[in-house]
């Protein structure tokens, strides 16, 4: 197992399973690795875009791995899916049209579907294999596809947005890390395309990497997109099986102010949730001083 190089074309997820444990090592988190105990490999293959591995773990349920990086474990996925979906949706007073870019496992759709006021959900996932194998092995997430309001487009999100301007109240980008197919999703031109596809008052929420690992990536991106979004803020959620145990979200608005307080509180909906609640919405934006300074204050 190599541990200090870029995942190459030839990365093989099976090589990361040694002595019955899957070891997640990557250039984005040098010198540290999360390991999960493997009970059984359920699927391994190469899609048009990436290495796809699905295994059943001893204690974390079924696990989806793309290019050697853990995307989902059944045990803790709810913290990510709930927060990336409900933070922007609850910050919007009346979201009707929602676009999901990436998110092929269906978990984000599952959460958006809990909002009765939403009329249309379109998902734009570039890798059809992620959808296919999630439906086969992660039914608890792929249940999101069963909602009649969902339209699935297997295509590039940038291309889709070019053809759909001023269309969405909320855009959620649920991407993998900025190495490989998702690299372009961490650059300002992608945020410009999302801006153009938002309706007035719209909100984007994107996977924003980890404040403990990637401040050098987050800071310039936030600075750059603050030039055209009206507000840009950073929240985070805890999730044990992502590197360093947390992941952040960039929330940016088109002609709308801060999203730090929810625009709506729905205690009925919260009964169906395991992570998000209105108080946690506000708390998720309160950053440790080192992260707040690095992202928003230091020059």
């Amino acid at each position: 197992m190599s541990d200090s190089q870029q995942p190459e074309q030839g990365l093989n997820g099976m090589d990361l399973i040694v002595d019955g444990w899957f070891h997640e090592r990557g250039v984005l988190w040098p010198g540290q690795a999360m390991s999960l105990k493997v009970e059984e490999v359920l699927y391994h293959g190469r899609s048009l875009f990436q290495d796809v591995l699905v295994f059943r773990s001893s204690d974390h349920g079924t696990v989806l791995v793309l290019d050697g990086v853990i995307q989902v474990t059944e045990r803790d996925e709810f913290s990510y899916q709930e927060m990336i979906a409900h933070l922007p949706l609850m910050a919007h007073p009346n979201p009707e049209k929602v676009l999901v870019i990436g998110g092929g496992d269906g978990g984000v759709l599952r959460e958006i579907a809990k909002h009765k006021g939403v009329k249309e959900m379109t998902i734009c996932e570039i890798d059809g294999d992620v959808i296919k194998y999630s439906k086969q092995y992660l039914p608890g997430l792929a249940v999101g596809y069963e909602d009649p309001r969902v339209t699935v487009r297997v295509m590039d999100g940038m291309e889709f947005m070019l053809a759909n301007q001023d269309s969405y109240d909320v855009i959620v980008t649920d991407s993998s890390d900025p190495i490989g197919p998702a690299g372009v999703l961490f650059e300002a031109p992608f945020y410009q395309k999302m801006y153009d596809s938002l309706r007035d008052g719209g909100i984007v929420c994107t996977q924003g990497e980890c404040m403990w690992l990637h401040l050098d990536l987050i800071r310039p991106l936030v600075a750059k997109i603050s030039e055209f979004y009206q507000s840009v803020e950073y929240a985070y959620t805890t999730i044990p099986t992502y590197p360093s145990g947390q992941i952040g979200f960039i929330l940016a608005t088109k002609n709308r102010g801060s999203v730090r307080k929810p625009a709506r509180v729905d205690r009925e909906l919260e009964k169906d949730l395991r992570y998000y609640n209105a108080e946690l919405h506000e708390a998720a934006f309160v950053l440790p001083s080192f992260a707040r300074r690095a992202i928003f204050e230091d020059k």
Copy 2:
């Protein structure tokens, strides 16, 4: 390396280093493991109480391991030390006498020393070797011992408290996990001893394990001690090198109400901190729904 048994008398930290990586596997976090890349082992030996390992890592600075469990890495220790110290100290309007149980590395003392109003800090650490090797290899933490207000007692905390009733404004218990020498620190009798050693209006803050792993341990302990403390609350901090990336704190008060809001805000002191700030004080008590329900609501 065994991965599903109790650390025994014979646990040898060196056995956990394989192919240049330290692997932290334990019965308290089955099926998952954090690994850190080792550059050089600085010390390994057995104290009267536990296996002590100190190594220099590739990306996380010097690392202290007790009985196979990571206690401190220089890279992220500040999030733990700051929160376990400043949450109770800032919740108290005028803390003068502070007791630390455990915390032999000195990091908690370092944080308490930042409070000018504190007149006495006593540390009661059972394992003198932890103090000795922290002074040798973790000077950035052991600097806490240099403050003239510090008194060091190498002895059992329970015994010390028996002889010091109604004495302290704040007691901080910075312990290892409830297997091995620290087991007794997670039981109600220990919390009763702390209660007796608090002055009126006093606050205890203890290492409270992880909401993602140990709700079955936290819930009954919180219920039990709520019978004699006036308020009992749970906060958490993010810390990448602890299991699942977070650790919690139990804060309990003797004849004082909620500690969720700081009693004091000190922006000058905050300039010296990298994690704690007054806004984060409040946010740290806002739990994800699954944890809030499990600890405080479900019967």
